[in-house]
Symmetry: D3
Subunit: 242 residues, 6 copies
Amino acid sequence: MNVLLRPSGRAPDQLRPVSFQRHYTRHAEGSVLVSFGDTRVLCTASIEDRIPPWLRGKGEGWVTAEYGMLPRATGTRTAREATRGGQGGRTMEIQRLIGRSLRACVNRQALGERVITLDCDVIQADGGTRTAAITGAYVALVDAVHVLMRREHLKRNPIVGAVAAVSVGIYKGTPVLDLDYAEDVDCDTDMNVVMNDGGGFIEVQGTAEGHAFRRDELDALLGLAEKGVAELVAAQRAALEA
Amino acid sequence: MNVLLRPSGRAPDQLRPVSFQRHYTRHAEGSVLVSFGDTRVLCTASIEDRIPPWLRGKGEGWVTAEYGMLPRATGTRTAREATRGGQGGRTMEIQRLIGRSLRACVNRQALGERVITLDCDVIQADGGTRTAAITGAYVALVDAVHVLMRREHLKRNPIVGAVAAVSVGIYKGTPVLDLDYAEDVDCDTDMNVVMNDGGGFIEVQGTAEGHAFRRDELDALLGLAEKGVAELVAAQRAALEA
Amino acid sequence: MNVLLRPSGRAPDQLRPVSFQRHYTRHAEGSVLVSFGDTRVLCTASIEDRIPPWLRGKGEGWVTAEYGMLPRATGTRTAREATRGGQGGRTMEIQRLIGRSLRACVNRQALGERVITLDCDVIQADGGTRTAAITGAYVALVDAVHVLMRREHLKRNPIVGAVAAVSVGIYKGTPVLDLDYAEDVDCDTDMNVVMNDGGGFIEVQGTAEGHAFRRDELDALLGLAEKGVAELVAAQRAALEA
Amino acid sequence: MNVLLRPSGRAPDQLRPVSFQRHYTRHAEGSVLVSFGDTRVLCTASIEDRIPPWLRGKGEGWVTAEYGMLPRATGTRTAREATRGGQGGRTMEIQRLIGRSLRACVNRQALGERVITLDCDVIQADGGTRTAAITGAYVALVDAVHVLMRREHLKRNPIVGAVAAVSVGIYKGTPVLDLDYAEDVDCDTDMNVVMNDGGGFIEVQGTAEGHAFRRDELDALLGLAEKGVAELVAAQRAALEA
Amino acid sequence: MNVLLRPSGRAPDQLRPVSFQRHYTRHAEGSVLVSFGDTRVLCTASIEDRIPPWLRGKGEGWVTAEYGMLPRATGTRTAREATRGGQGGRTMEIQRLIGRSLRACVNRQALGERVITLDCDVIQADGGTRTAAITGAYVALVDAVHVLMRREHLKRNPIVGAVAAVSVGIYKGTPVLDLDYAEDVDCDTDMNVVMNDGGGFIEVQGTAEGHAFRRDELDALLGLAEKGVAELVAAQRAALEA
Amino acid sequence: MNVLLRPSGRAPDQLRPVSFQRHYTRHAEGSVLVSFGDTRVLCTASIEDRIPPWLRGKGEGWVTAEYGMLPRATGTRTAREATRGGQGGRTMEIQRLIGRSLRACVNRQALGERVITLDCDVIQADGGTRTAAITGAYVALVDAVHVLMRREHLKRNPIVGAVAAVSVGIYKGTPVLDLDYAEDVDCDTDMNVVMNDGGGFIEVQGTAEGHAFRRDELDALLGLAEKGVAELVAAQRAALEA
């Protein structure tokens, strides 16, 4: 019965097929094409031996993120931000979220005075690009840190645990996990949840699109997110061990 | 004992003194100076008989928000965004949040083909400017709608319920309500919660600044927010009846 | 008879009620809400221990100004300059005028290597915002310098005399003092005059909006300005002694 | 004795040699290279059959101006405004002044629904570029209007009188006419005066660079300006009759 | 012997392995990942039923191109153009070249009043990104036109022949075909040649990086380009028939 | 017969009258008004004792160029780039070409750690502005270097040979030299060729506007360019010896 509910035929608590294609391009220290179903995001991690002005002399590193969307990642062409004179509000919101989320699993003292930039560029969009970006960027970040460790630039591993993200929402009255585009445009409530591998919450961003959500709905959504992130963390681990 | 916990001496579940100064300026259809303690935000509601391009011919109105901060609202001077070539990421994030929150209490069909712009300008900042802005903008919005109704431009009241917002966070291990600046810079977790007068959640935005927060902490924070918003809604009602 | 001339009922040589609300906000070293009738401008003076590149190594300080207008300070909403990609020509013209005017009463050697920025933000506009801004910014500047002197950062007072400004114009054929908005839109000639407390002229900016003005009209306008500025300087002094 | 005063050896009330080279370029309807000594400005007048949005349906025309400076018009190279992302405050201030000044001699009803744009580009700068620009732009404007009249696009001449401008200032204590760069950098007070051929004042913009100027100094400067503009108007007339 | 000349071991007149991956993404009407060795460019063709202002009422269509590079397509990270406030000179030069080149094979009358935008985004760079982009964009363009024809929006095929491009240069004194990055940074002369399938030249852009090139060197380079483009056109045809 | 072919009556291989007016303005170290018929470009060379960041510590200098067009250099007014928020693609393409071309005749080691900026501003346009700019900029560059040598800032002359440029194209089926505007808008193929005085090619940029050009047409155009540049180099030499 639930099979009939979702356009994709998924169960309410079922993720889309998730895959991580590591070493997707050759220049970046970490380079991962992550897929959540038809959503595909290229996440690269770039190491630079510089430090932002506000961290000078503190002996700490920094992790930051930028987000972009190729013009035809979407159903109709989206104008390039470079031709519109700058990044828009949505882009900035998303890349700030990605950066904060990944910094939550990095010991910046251990990273030392360098910057890792996570570029998340959407090649194809089908809903959930920011959660896919966070989940894929984690794998790219780990790969980049491994490069630093192989080169013996680090004394200890600055990565603390794992970080993954998933969207949840109320679609036609039912709480569902990992919304695709068809569900996203038609749902009442949309929440992005970023968690670590210990079950701790890093970010919770929920928005009522239609009616305001009740406390019990919020509880159900958080439960779905906990299940989804646990599965994503397992998938990250499998990809990194491959 | 808790009295000693917070720099301000407030109890963990205590709001700062809240006030609404209606008709603060004379040109805007709604104009409210809202204070949450030392945080003061001027919220104006402006009615314009135009409609954004994407709503043409739909018979609906729109509510949008802009947010700004006077250069010396803060402890050290902040450069004016107009001289930096545009609004930054934080500003866009906040004004998008204010706009979404207020649209949640407006029946856009009933509003008709007009735009109400809520300008929230921070005169003095002491933490919680975005939640004060949402809470004050609601009062300005109601005043502006009353102007429309007095002019008989509306058949029915497009305002559906009330909207208010408050921040909650974990400060030195204890969940507290309505963080001021001294608490904000020093807290582990910060969450902004927007709710309606029926206890429904409109936005939940929580960020772990230090350690990730556990599910039971999240539950406690949501409880505090429910209490705080209920008090804010009562204060809005009292101000509107004054 | 003259009572009938001006929309406000003022005599031709009569200022609007002028007030200065010092310490209007708490973070700025100087913070003054100045009112010229319904025109209200928040003037803050911020001290920064930096020096512009072109003054390095000269042992001098700098005084600069920025001007802004809240979107709904005006009868119809004005788009925020931060969303239009930068400050417009009128804004730049005004803030350059304010900066030049205030520098005329500052001994930059005595100020030492620091910058004082005067932010003049119009909360409510009813004509004469730039002259109100100059007159109020002077009071904020003096307050900020007192802070420096109390902190013993200055050997001697860098303030030399006082500066105030007023507009004059020819309204329906009669020279009048301190135009409000109703007069401003309807006047033939508009002149802003900045003077010091010794009766010296710092800036004279006159524009014929309708017919060119004769030399005798110019003389009458300058006379009115001399009277108005003398009264404004007295009001500044009273406010600073309060 | 006065001969020794000014670096150029001019008498205090003596203009620099002034010339107007009409038809300097071939595409523009009016094209005049004006020289005030070594200051050379190319003024072109371009006619366009369009009308700004705010004048639609009013049956009036518009006259506007733009000002620019070639990068090496000055002693050291000035960065091109097009590479700095836009026009600066000084440029906007000047072009707004030029536009206002020239509109003072145009009957916009008689001009009909068209725009004349006066481009004033400084080829070589030696002080007084804005007054040279106004004085030269008037000649270009008259030439452009003659083109319209020859083509029988106008029923009556929209030009009302003549407009010219000159700078005056107090140099080493003496009021002088038409400051060149050597005088400009070293003078106490600088005033730009725009007048018409009937002796009426259109703009008066005086700035005390050093000490504030007394009323009697102001009177002397205005007298010099009256003399200078009268000579410039005669030179314009001679050029137009050539 | 020549085998030793080139870092890649290629013969002087040998292309890198070339491939076209059609339907690489699912939203665009044409979507091709073109590879010239390690250079990989995603070329999408987007159809829009609009027409640029200057073509209104002419019954013609338009083909335009945009070019971008993902930040980590290169050996060291390149800042995103969207964060630098706009497209740089090199990007504009390249996308204008791509647009002109592709318009050379389109009958714009037959295309009708629509725009096809070719977005060429470099996923991985190893020299020759602009020639790979042109060659791949042609395949994407043909696919997009087939979509239009299948939907019966076109009466006749607007594609006239084929267009491909290749770089040639003088590397260590020898003319070579299709420079990779290692050759590009070290070559004396670099020429990009765009041709059609009839052997006609559409664009020739040659730059002497080191010494100026002689007429006989120019002749040799043009000969290599003719050979290379013929092979690329054959590869395009094979890909389109697959 | 050919005399009738070209609108100007020129023979196919005939340049327009070319002239160089040296010392056209007085501030720049080199200042040349170059005319190719009615195309007039002011080329100034400015010496600055600074070095771009990427050349620090290399002991080399740099030569760069900027290009602009006065708004009414053209038949209809072109909006000023400074008011459009920045330089457009065409401008950047042209100034990059001018810079590369002139660097080809400069020994940057011999120039020492300084920058020469070549500003090429079109006063009047009639086709071929970029080739006139390159040809005139060379003369300005030589004059500026002479200033350096007279001031004994250079040990040896950094100028190596001469550089000039000309356009060629196929006009009504016939290859012609040095296209003017009337020919340019109506020609099938347009090529700009930059060469040195030894007959070496520095840049070749050919674009088929109508039909693609055949190899034999390309050969004929290159031959015309060789003839034209030889004449331009002779004219440069004559001007520099005057």
